[in-house]
Amino acid sequence: MYPSRFRYEAPRSVEEAIALLHQGGGEAKVLAGGQSLVPMLKLRFASPEMLVDINNLPGLDYLRVDADGTIRIGALCRHADLEKSTLLAAHQPTMAAAAPLVADPIVRNRGTLVGSLCHADPQGDWASVMIALGGHIVAQGPKGRRKIAVADLMKGPFQTVLAYDELAIEAVVPAPKGVAGGGYLKLERRVGDFATVGVAIAIETSAGSVIRAGIGLTGVGGSTINAVDAAGALLGGPLTADTIARASELAAQAAQPRSDHRGSATYKRHIVSTFVTRILTSVPDSKGKAA
């Protein structure tokens, strides 16, 4: 399969990339890892007039933690970099759990977290993770930079609020105010398949009490679901069998799955609830296990 014809540009600076996107007037597409875009070009689901390949932009492949604990992921940081990161393994359990579950090992060598967010596939793992973590992206356009919360980034399937001449520079996870806990679980028929269901949970605890919670759901709606009520049920006290059961129930209610070849809507809701329980009972100071 061959993509349709396009003009190819490989700028050497962010400013040049933005100028090209501006020039493209909505008919240009950013190419980062290309693990979703190239197949879409080949299937001709996408046929942009211009492709702006950002792989030659210097200094965007970083994964770093600021002194205050803020995590920053550059636009060219690959899934494999996140999977291998000892830093995430030590400090950010939700991201560390998700990184090895994205696509397959070869795709992870090339695909990027920021690209995955901008692709806005309802089946994308990172959007759920970043929503659970309360993360945002930094987008740069001709008029400068702005922050966009990942929860506000997706307008619908494969649609974001990014302007046509804005480039997502990095994704940011705010510094935790307590001890970070959580995880990511995904049900897939085989490695590399789209998620049947994915659940991302990120909580912060202080003195045994949950002070922040976020739950993101993958693959059970027209876009990534921010299960606000389910997360809210965890706040203000320790994790107990009761709060966990309540959050599991509310998360299942927040899901809007459709019956398809991957399973019935009822089954998918059940998995959402099971995964919420599993993740929360495995948080180190969870009291849910006793129940």
């Binding site: 061959y2 014809r5 190239v38 060598n109």
Partner: protein
Amino acid sequence: MSSLFAEVPPEPASDVPVRRVTINVNGEARTAVIEPRLLLAHLLRQGFGLTGTHTGCDTTNCGVCTVLFDGTPIKSCTMLAVQADGHNILTVEGLAGASELHPVQEAFKDEHGLQCGFCTPGMMLTAKAFLETNPDPTEDEVRWALSGNLCRCTGYQNIVKSVLAAAEKLRGQAGN
């Protein structure tokens, strides 16, 4: 010219954008003029005649088109050839030395790590890169590392055995 005439391709239409790329393929600089929409897998196969790189699903699932891009496994059906400009590509043709097989190839031969052979180039290249980062893997780690490469014949048992045997061979070499 070896005969009195040679058929040449028609001149491309002048409005078709083309790019000149130089890619180091298996240690040799290869230059081509290509349309940017050409995929790396197709440049390797049809352009350079390196048909050891197979194309299977053509949808980024099966991994048979895996090549090493600056030492890292990538699916060559999911990279534009123009993106490889200035980079190093290793295909299965570049694995063996002048007179002997690469230890990974030896191991696949010894352990019957293939039946039809279609997935084998991708399997071996993935295995080579994996064993460089993890020279003494467990069986589980091998299975995990190969999970992006599909095989429809073997049920994977002998492929996993082959990679474990290759690891042993390579450790032996490193020890010498």
